[in-house]
Subunit: 457 residues, 2 copies
């Protein structure tokens, strides 16, 4: 096997530096989740296929990674099924398990399965990898991490308020200031579709509207026409295309448009409560904004819809999103459980922090002291000090081999270890340690206590 | 879908309590790994099949979970292959990826793939789930976590010394005192096989010897005979069956037995160095012991072999193991890279800590303060205090709904939240908060600052 090994496309190896930076983001998110009363759960990497299949639409089903049954998986399969080579049909016979596609469906499954052990409203967070057989591209991977916080069992709008605050808290802690948190409400979209008489085309209508940023007013209108939405209906939408003013003014024009839709007006009320309350409580660094073109997750969201954009100076899609789904657990037979949640896109946040150079310098926890190895006797002397340093929570290591001095120093240098200790016969005799500060090159002799004091800071 | 959902056999959901306890163990291991100079890496959950297949023996190949190719996976498959229904043959045509089976092979692959970016000796740790299609049983799962620390690129025995110390450090931090760390050396086993003239039967011989604890001297002898090891050879092993005395005495009798095997004597030298040095440096709470029947991982270990047993009062197999493999990366074409490492069995350590009630009471990080929801005005007043508490790093939450008082108190009770704040009209008027201490039932009125001071402790 002379061929250099590789990893599957769309997956990644994470170096020590990568892991440190990713943990910095995840730890920040995690500590905020906890402050807000969310508790961690974890679910298996693979679920029974029936748990996942059919929950993400046809496209989703295709993108789910299926696991081949163990053993002689073809044994029970009838020969004629095989000869037809119908991959889709055969899949269900040779695969019973699949890798999770997101954290929401496993969460719904968890809630239903454990409903008798849980205290509702149940606030959970979950940070685990998910897998999708998507075409890999920049910022899109086949294995990636989701960081979700959801509440299930309450339809209180205070949750929406708190989730906006939570976004703001995390982003501010990451020094990612001036992010925009966009909010919309499915009921507003339904109301619009209702008043323009395109209720049966809600999805087509919102998918087109969602592209306003990308393809502009004319593009959206063209797509709507193509989808069979009438010219007169589109005309009524002019308010949306020329949406101006501050949030309160926008909500007023929306109210006028939706005056005949009870559902639409309810959506406006909900958004208004969240925006007003958040503004009265205040945000640290983010900006909350009504965006009626926001239509993500329309297959399942029934109330609030959230999306977070990185600061304007960075070119990056959304770095988070979420919303309310009135019947989260209905797919598994537990009715009337409203859920609301948000998700952080770890990989994209990583790219943004990298681009803006916002990772703290101290993020990598590295060895602080390397002890040069001059031979077994010296190494034993060094190991006594190393044990002592470690007891004082200072990461230290002995260069394992009696290699040339230059090689050992190069190791310290490349590993960016700030302190090197040289202890040979003289030091052993005088019970001292010679410390070299790598940055300055200066050397000084210390007792063990002095050594600890010096390398601590 | 009225059927209650479930998860695949051998997998687990982890509740908030489970996650907290597991994180306690993993964080303890992780912090010790860092103190010893190990750096974290992470590798993808699935690897190319060719990376994994053939690395764990025939049995291992069977236990590897294979991932079905996406799309029309049968398309290119030749019809005659299908009609023969040869599952094993077909697997390689419909599956190109597989879930990782351990962390060692992916680590070897990582080292070879990234050899030009790494500084050797490379000390890495890795804590990730692995998957095996094993028959599930108590303490054995299809998805479980490995916590590994390995050094590659040095054959210094100081690594073995440090790895024993590392075991001792982690176990002691977990309050898991009096664990036994067993050490052996592949060269000793090879030496024994050599001097009894059973070199060609090394594996059979050690597999049998490994069972001494379980099936006793007679059982082992019987199995050896069955495997074709001669009676006269077995007779020479009497030393091992009646192995007595302290470590130094045992090493002496071994030396006599192995006096004609250069390899065997080298193994004794190595073990002696590790045991002597560790004893001179001292262990915190564990006990290091020579065990010549220890033969785990003989397919790959070439030098030291480690295994850790839980304290004697617990019935549990090994909670960790490891060893040295002289040619770790050879399977991927990079020769002469010696590696040595240890692994912690998270699931078993968990069971042991549970049984011995060694999880600290503070392990679950929970919400400290719940604010009762009396209505929107009161909730807004509460939310101002909640934001303030969170700024002071105190986990607080508002009960989201205006539910009956009893229901809200029950929630606090079941969630084991220690403090509840009641703030209604009177409190708003006097800018105070009424705090109820759940354990005692006592209530007292505080300013916001007083509230923080009280709930902090």
């Amino acid at each position: 096997m002379a061929k250099k090994p590789s990893i599957p496309k769309g997956t990644r190896d994470f170096s020590p530096q990568d892991v440190a930076k990713r943990n910095y983001i995840m730890d920040t998110i995690k500590s905020s989740f906890k402050l807000y009363g969310f508790q961690p759960i974890e679910t298996p990497s693979f679920e029974n296929s029936e748990t996942l299949m059919g929950k993400y639409g046809e496209e989703g089903d295709r993108l789910i990674f299926k696991i081949l049954n163990s053993g002689d998986f073809l044994k029970k399969l009838d020969a004629s099924a095989l000869s037809e080579k119908d991959s889709q049909h055969i899949t269900s016979h040779i695969s019973e398990k699949a890798l999770r596609y997101d954290l929401t469906v496993p969460f719904a499954r968890y809630v239903v399965q454990h409903q008798n052990e849980l205290v509702f409203p149940f606030k959970r967070y979950q940070m685990q990898p998910v897998w999708r057989a998507d075409r890999p591209q920049k910022g899109r991977f086949r294995e990636f991490w989701q960081c979700d916080a959801d509440v299930v069992g309450s339809d209180s709008l205070w949750q929406e308020v708190e989730l906006v605050q939570l976004y703001d808290e995390v982003l501010s802690k990451l020094q990612l200031h001036r992010c925009t948190i966009k909010i919309n409400n499915r009921k507003i979209l339904s109301g619009i579709a209702e008043v323009i008489g395109a209720e049966d085309k809600l999805i087509d209508f919102t998918v087109a509207l969602d592209k306003l940023d990308k393809i502009g007013e004319e593009g959206v209108k063209k797509e709507m026409l193509e989808k069979g939405i009438s010219e007169s209906a589109i005309e009524k939408l002019q308010t949306l295309f020329s949406f101006k003013g501050n949030t309160s003014e926008r909500l007023n024009s929306l109210s006028e448009l939706l005056t005949n839709s009870q559902l639409g007006l309810q959506g406006i009320e909900e958004v208004k409560f969240v925006i007003d309350t958040v503004q009265n409580l205040g945000l640290i660094s983010s900006h909350l904004e009504l965006d009626v073109t926001l239509a993500r997750g329309l297959d399942y969201y029934t109330g609030a819809i959230f999306e977070v954009s990185a600061p304007e100076r960075v070119q990056m899609g959304s770095i988070g999103g979420g919303g309310r789904y009135d019947d989260l657990t209905g797919i598994f037979g537990l009715k009337n459980m409203s859920g609301v949640g948000i998700s952080f896109g770890l990989d994209r946040i990583y790219l943004v922090l990298e681009e803006l150079q916002l990772f703290p310098k101290t993020v990598e926890q590295n060895t602080r002291v390397l002890f040069i190895n001059f031979g077994n006797e010296e190494a034993f002397y060094a190991m006594q000090a190393i044990s002592f340093l470690r007891k004082h929570n200072i990461a230290a290591e002995l260069y394992p081999d009696v290699a040339k001095m230059g090689k050992q120093m190069t190791y310290a240098d490349k590993r960016e270890i700030p302190f090197v200790v040289l202890a040979g016969g003289n030091e052993i005799a005088s019970k001292t340690y010679t410390l070299k500060i790598m940055q300055t090159g200066s050397q000084e002799s210390f007792s063990l206590d002095g050594l600890i004091e010096t390398v601590k800071h």
